[in-house]
């Protein structure tokens, strides 16, 4: 059995007096597609942000690809990670945000090539060639010279996916990537993600309210509530036969709100 690519061990995180994550542990295998579901404030977005090093943890340990994320091993001791170590670890991880966060002053092409050129020293020609492949993959090769403001939300999000892929991360984090989109634009983004899941062996973690998509996409579903994983299992088990009362209650509410499962 291969080693897990993500190993989260008893991490806790508070914002002020509010405990978002409370001794959370989980493991993700290489290539696994994971859907994180649960009510808002349950900590599912926070764990993605922690993996991307956008939030610090208060306690616990995280291993990515066999290495400590927030700690460095020096002479057998675990020390808090410095910026250099964090930068090295970030190379393994990419993230796509709910609000896209494209760089509005740069054209689509430059959005995708910026990081490879600056962080990996890739030459412009090579970076642009790779960017064109990625833009082609997300169906936006003809928009390479467009500015983000000229794109629809769905197009922006597809560019954001291409931008994250340009650094060839081993792990991709998707944080409610369709929540800010008009309903008719959701499908084009989900299609790109289906394609990604089918064509690559990247590990993908997905926080979503699209239960139908989570069901089809994920190998495993984690149900979060109050900073803990209440229940996990294959999509069918979680969506069709939830065991825990809180999972059942949550799914009932979601279905009542009109979401397809």
């Amino acid at each position: 059995m291969p080693a897990p690519i993500i190993k989260v061990d008893a991490i806790s995180k508070s914002f002020g007096a509010f405990k978002v994550l409370d001794g959370l542990s989980m493991q993700v295998m290489p290539g696994e597609k994971l859907a994180l579901i649960g009510p808002s404030g349950s900590g599912k977005t926070t764990i993605l942000r922690i993996l991307m090093t956008l939030e610090r943890i208060d306690g616990g340990h995280i291993q990515i690809d066999g290495e400590q994320l927030y700690h460095m091993e020096r002479n057998g001791q675990l020390l808090p990670a410095d910026e250099r170590h964090l930068a090295k670890m970030r190379q393994k991880i990419g993230m796509v945000f709910q609000l896209f966060n494209l760089f509005p002053h740069k054209c689509v092409m430059d959005n995708v090539t910026l990081a490879p050129m600056l962080t990996k020293g890739v030459a412009r020609a090579a970076a642009e060639k790779r960017a064109m492949e990625l833009l082609d993959m997300v169906g936006l090769a003809d928009k390479a010279k467009a500015m983000p403001a000229q794109l629809s939300g769905g197009q922006k999000q597809r560019v954001a996916i291409a931008r994250a892929l340009a650094l060839s991360p081993k792990i991709m984090l998707f944080d409610e990537v369709t929540s800010a989109l008009d309903p008719e634009l959701v499908e084009e983004v989900l299609n790109v993600m289906r394609k990604l899941a089918a064509e690559t062996d990247m590990t993908m973690l997905l926080v979503t309210h699209e239960m139908g998509f989570a069901h089809d996409f994920a190998d495993r579903v984690l149900f979060f509530d109050r900073g803990k994983i209440v229940e996990e299992g294959k999509p069918d088990e979680i969506f069709r036969h939830p065991k825990q009362e809180r999972t059942q209650g949550f799914l009932k509410k979601i279905i009542a709100a009109g979401h397809r499962v």
């Binding site: 991307m52 910026l114 990081a115 600056l118 931008r163």
Partner: protein, 219 residues
Amino acid sequence: MEWDWNFVREIMPTLIQGVKITILATVLGSILAAIVGLAIALARRSPNRAVSRSVGWFAEFVRGTPLLVQLYFIFYVLPDFGILLPPLVAGGIGLGLHYGTYTAEVYRAGIDNVPRGQWEAAKACNLSGHHTWTHVILPQAIPPMIPALANYFIAMFKETPLLSAITVLELMNQAKSVANSYYRYVEPMTLVGAFFLVISLCSVVLLRWLEHRYGRIER
């Protein structure tokens, strides 16, 4: 007292010399204020408390004391410590430092206006702190603040007559000297006002254009 056009013609070359120095002092001061302001704004965001605090106090101190006093210090007091500056350089430094503490606030607001998501995207792209500033944050923060910066530069331009106090031969000083030697004040002083008015009005037109061009950013 009558308006004497012949006198005007006579003193015009001297006054134009003064205008050149006035503009030069403004340009020097503006460049310095733009750099000092950015440096102060960045230093105040430093995670190092000692740096951010002391720079904050320095800015408060400069803003809380008159420009004229600062000019006297730079030109007449610093030589006691072995720092002897030519008048125009001292004047440029004085203007730049003083207005830099104001432009720092413009930079601060501009930087704060860049959405948090941009910092996070830069981090997710694994950009270094330096690259995040130079490629993501400042290119978005600076264009919308150009009108506000230009406003301060125009204000600075109108304060350049203070430099006459430290012997800079700018417009006001030249006008004073021709007035004193001919005992005629009406033409030189009127012309000083006219020069400032014309240049200010042109600057305001430029400012409107800048506001139109840079005042908003599309997201």
